[in-house]
Amino acid sequence: SQQGEEDPQALSIQEGENATMNCSYKTSINNLQWYRQNSGRGLVHLILIRSNEREKHSGRLRVTLDTSKKSSSLLITASRAADTASYFCATGITGGFKTIFGAGTRLFVKA
């Protein structure tokens, strides 16, 4: 079974708007990562936040992590049509080597 659960499952917004995606997980983690996938091909790493961090920024991306609630959010500001993709959260499990992915949020940005 998958560790992370993204919310919403799908999101449709206008270009220029902000997009927020949420992720919840179940067990203790070392880090949480966000990936983007276009058209069912390879995943592109966006950002990694460690369990002792609360917020991280990268360009138009802002990620927060709340380990007490076992949740994270990804904010994409000023979205573009090129941001249309599936976004996955993935957790690095404490004491293990594997990364567990959620089912993803499908983002559609209308031009």
Binding site: L43, G92, F97, K98, T99
Partner: protein, 114 residues
């Protein structure tokens, strides 16, 4: 600097057959993980190889096996193929700590079992 490369890109096999998928990691990476991604789902961890040994395994049957070579490249083998094995198979490489660092993914191999 070449990223992660996977071959072949597409493959069609018949039920009961065996398949081998290949992955070359990003230069400087020594850890390879394999994932299965069914349509509309997130990637599911199959196993991870480090120093030519399987370091951790997900909930996949023994029909799924792998190998890592001294040059860090890796193979995924699936025996006795089932229709349900149809999926995108992704290889990811990283350095040393696997799940605790950024992983770079290949473009995947789309396997169709008929």
């Amino acid at each position: 600097d070449a990223g992660v490369t996977q071959s072949p890109t597409h493959l069609i096999k018949t039920r009961g057959q065996q398949v081998t998928l290949r992955c070359s990691p990003k230069s400087g990476h020594d850890t390879v993980s394999w994932y299965q991604q069914a349509l509309g789902q997130g990637p599911q961890f199959i196993f991870q190889y480090y120093e030519e040994e399987e370091r951790q395994r997900g909930n996949f049957p023994d029909r799924f096996s792998g190998h890592q070579f001294p040059n860090y490249s890796s193979e995924l083998n699936v025996n006795a193929l089932l229709l349900g094995d149809s999926a995108l198979y992704l290889c990811a490489s990283s350095f040393r700590t696997g799940g605790n660092t950024e992983a770079f993914f290949g473009q995947g191999t789309r396997l169709t079992v008929v």
